[in-house]
């Protein structure tokens, strides 16, 4: 029997029955998800991170912010009990409630400091990499200058510099200590050089491609070449580095708050809950254990996530 019907217009290859068709090629998103899924640590990291976010933001439904700042001098330094599952701190505030609200601020600082870093780092790296020449060497000398001072020293000097009595900020109906903004900007201002170098290296290699030459030949404006053509093609290492820098920002906030130059009370962060805690290593372990554990878990899971993302979206690069 001769088949007289015309090949089905939608089937990919004429003359093949549907079951003989190859499986459709995977989209970029599916491929990425496949590689990410294989990274068990990254899945573990993502789940832990989700749980921590749920803890910090879902906890708002259980405790009000007033509770987290409520001073109860009669109940100072109490060990964990049913009433205060994580114990109380040196002036009787409930540590469980403070880790919830402190977590929100710490995560917020991590994300926004990453954004500041991203804006400065990508701009500097893109301009230096694309235009090259004098501008490039000037910007790179400047980047080197920032890198020569170890970050923590620079961070402390800048935190001290900007921390001259900044008024409290009201945002979304809540009051934040103005020092939160200072810390965000100071962390952003000291971490961008690493990102700028990555972006510059990406731009240097991507701009040599023929499609950039073609775009230039048809008269595409420079900013459009940078934003629409080069940036999307160098996005993978930027995403990975941005993910990891959220973890770095959370740690840095904890360091400077730990050293007493970070976020001022009453706003709690995981970092400033640790301030002075080393005086209580012996007598009150719950004071530093819970915020410290939350920071360590968050940083660990973000690092796992970043590692998985690197394997998934940037498979050519080699994890160290």
């Amino acid at each position: 029997m001769v088949d007289t019907t015309a090949p089905h217009p939608t089937s990919g290859i004429a003359g093949l029955r549907p079951d003989e068709l190859e499986t459709p090629p995977l989209s970029l998103g599916q491929l990425t998800w496949r590689r990410f899924r294989q990274h068990k640590m990254a899945i573990f990291g993502s789940i832990t991170l989700l749980l921590i976010i749920l803890y910090a933001f879902g906890g708002m439904l259980v405790f009000s912010e007033a509770e987290s700042n409520a001073v109860e001098t009669g109940a100072r330094l109490q060990a964990p009990t049913r009433q205060h599952p994580f114990g109380t701190d040196t002036i009787g505030r409930d540590i469980l409630a403070r880790t919830i609200y402190g977590g929100q601020i710490s995560i917020l600082i991590g994300l926004t400091a990453m954004l500041v870093e991203l804006i400065i780092g990508v701009t500097v790296g893109a301009v230096a990499g694309y235009f090259g020449g004098k501008l490039d060497s000037l910007l790179m000398r400047f980047t080197e200058a920032v890198l020569v001072i170890p970050q923590i020293f620079l961070l402390l000097v800048m935190a001290k510099y900007f921390a001259q009595s900044i008024p409290n900020v009201r945002f979304l109906g809540r009051t934040f200590s103005g020092s939160v903004l200072v810390i965000i900007f100071v962390i952003g201002l000291t971490t961008w050089p690493y990102l700028a170098r990555i972006v510059r290296a990406q731009f240097l290699s991507v701009k040599e491609n023929d499609y950039i030459l073609a775009a230039r030949a048809v008269g595409t404006p420079t900013w459009e070449i940078i934003v629409r053509h080069i940036l999307p093609n160098s996005i993978a290492p930027i995403i990975v580095s941005a993910t990891l820098s959220v973890a770095a920002a959370i740690t840095l906030e904890a360091y400077i708050s730990f050293l007493g130059l970070g976020v001022r009370p009453p706003t709690a962060t995981w970092g400033n809950m640790l301030e002075g805690a080393y005086n209580y290593v012996e007598s009150a372990w719950w004071l530093w254990f819970f915020p410290g554990l939350l920071i360590a878990l968050t940083v660990l899971s973000i690092n796992f996530l970043g590692d998985g993302l690197r394997d998934a979206i940037d498979p050519h690069s080699r994890a160290v």
Binding site: A145, I149, I152, F153, L274, E282, W288
Partner: protein, 343 residues
């Protein structure tokens, strides 16, 4: 090669100059160094004006920077406040090796730093030796037994330690090895200082007090470096010259430690050289927690009292060390790998 080193050194001069200027300006607005000078007494305003004049703090920032850099012995300053410059300056400036005098305790900056530097170096160099030793052991073992259960366990553990903040490790270590060990009647480690005041500063005391700070300083670096050594070793073990060495019938240790490790260690040497000065930065938190009288604590104490000369001294010393180690890293790399030529 000599020309390359010379050029790098010459390039470092404007870099250091810009860094010092920016830091100096940052330092000026960090707070009032006179506020803490009178101890608990509030300084009277006429005293304050006189002090500011004597210390040169009433001058514009640029002039203060100039005095810091080149000294003020070529000019006269007005010390008694009558508007006539009559006293010749005595400062020689950083360029002539005079780092000024601490605003806090009136000691020369070089002396203040010199008292603390050996303590930090002791901590740092011990930590560095331990870091390299353990990172090599773990990294080589992991590379030789890739994907074995021990390698997977080591991977998980190193990743865990790599992500752990320094203070959390320090506090946990203190809690376990100092507090609980004492509770359980085991020999426990001390937590604060360099030695027991009663026992005096003997080397046994100092070593005993160094255990926890050195462990705290090293764990993160061991985790990071061992991952790195594992990957460079894996790469080296896959090379043709390793197969050749095996084919010649060389014993396994010689193949691993002479042929593979020698080549795998190239990038590691660079990374260690670049990170070494940054150990000073890692020491801030560690020295703070363990009360170690080193540079990190010196920096914290003097930043909080806006003591510009000492803070500038510490920062410029570290900046200089970073630049020198960067050049050293490049030179070592070229020396170890003759394929690389600098012109």
């Amino acid at each position: 090669m000599t020309r390359y080193i010379l050029r790098r050194l010459l390039q470092a001069i404007p870099l250091l100059f810009v860094i010092s200027l920016v830091l100096f300006i940052l330092m000026q607005n960090m707070g009032d160094p006179l506020a803490t000078m009178g101890g608990r007494k509030v300084t009277r305003s006429e005293d304050r004006i006189r002090l500011a004049r004597q210390l040169g703090l009433d001058k514009p920032v640029i002039v203060q920077y100039l005095y810091w850099l080149v000294g003020n012995d070529w000019t006269k300053t007005d010390l008694d406040g009558d508007g006539v410059a009559e006293t010749a300056g005595v400062r020689k400036g950083v360029l002539r090796g005079d780092w000024g005098v601490s605003l806090v305790n009136r000691k020369p900056v070089t002396q203040v730093i010199g008292e603390r530097l050996p303590n930090t170096l002791l901590l740092m160099l011990t930590a560095e030796a331990i870091i390299i030793l353990f990172a090599l052991l773990i990294g080589i073992y992991s590379a030789l037994h890739q994907y074995s259960s021990m390698d997977n366990a080591l991977t998980a553990v190193t990743f865990f330690f790599y992500s752990m903040p320094v203070f959390f490790f320090a506090l946990l270590a203190m809690y376990i090895f100092a507090v609980n060990f004492r509770k359980w009647g085991l020999p426990y480690l001390p937590t604060v200082g360099m030695f027991e005041p009663a026992a005096g500063k003997t080397s046994a005391q100092v070593i005993w007090h160094m255990v926890l700070p050195v462990a705290t300083l090293s764990f993160g670096f061991i985790a990071g470096y061992s991952r790195y050594i594992r990957s460079t070793m894996l790469e080296a073990m896959g090379q043709d010259y390793i197969r050749t060495a095996r084919a010649k019938g060389l014993p396994q240790p010689e193949v691993v430690y002479v042929h593979a490790l020698k080549n795998a260690s190239l990038p590691i040497v660079t990374i260690i050289a670049l990170d070494l000065p940054f150990l000073l930065g890692g020491a801030i938190v560690t020295e703070r927690i363990f009360g170690w009288p080193g540079m990190g604590r010196l920096f914290l104490d003097h930043v909080s009292r806006s003591d510009t000369p000492v803070v500038m001294g510490i920062l410029m010393m570290i900046a200089f060390a970073v630049i020198i180690f960067q050049i050293l890293a490049d030179v070592t790399y070229a020396w170890l790998d003759p394929r690389i030529r600098y012109t």
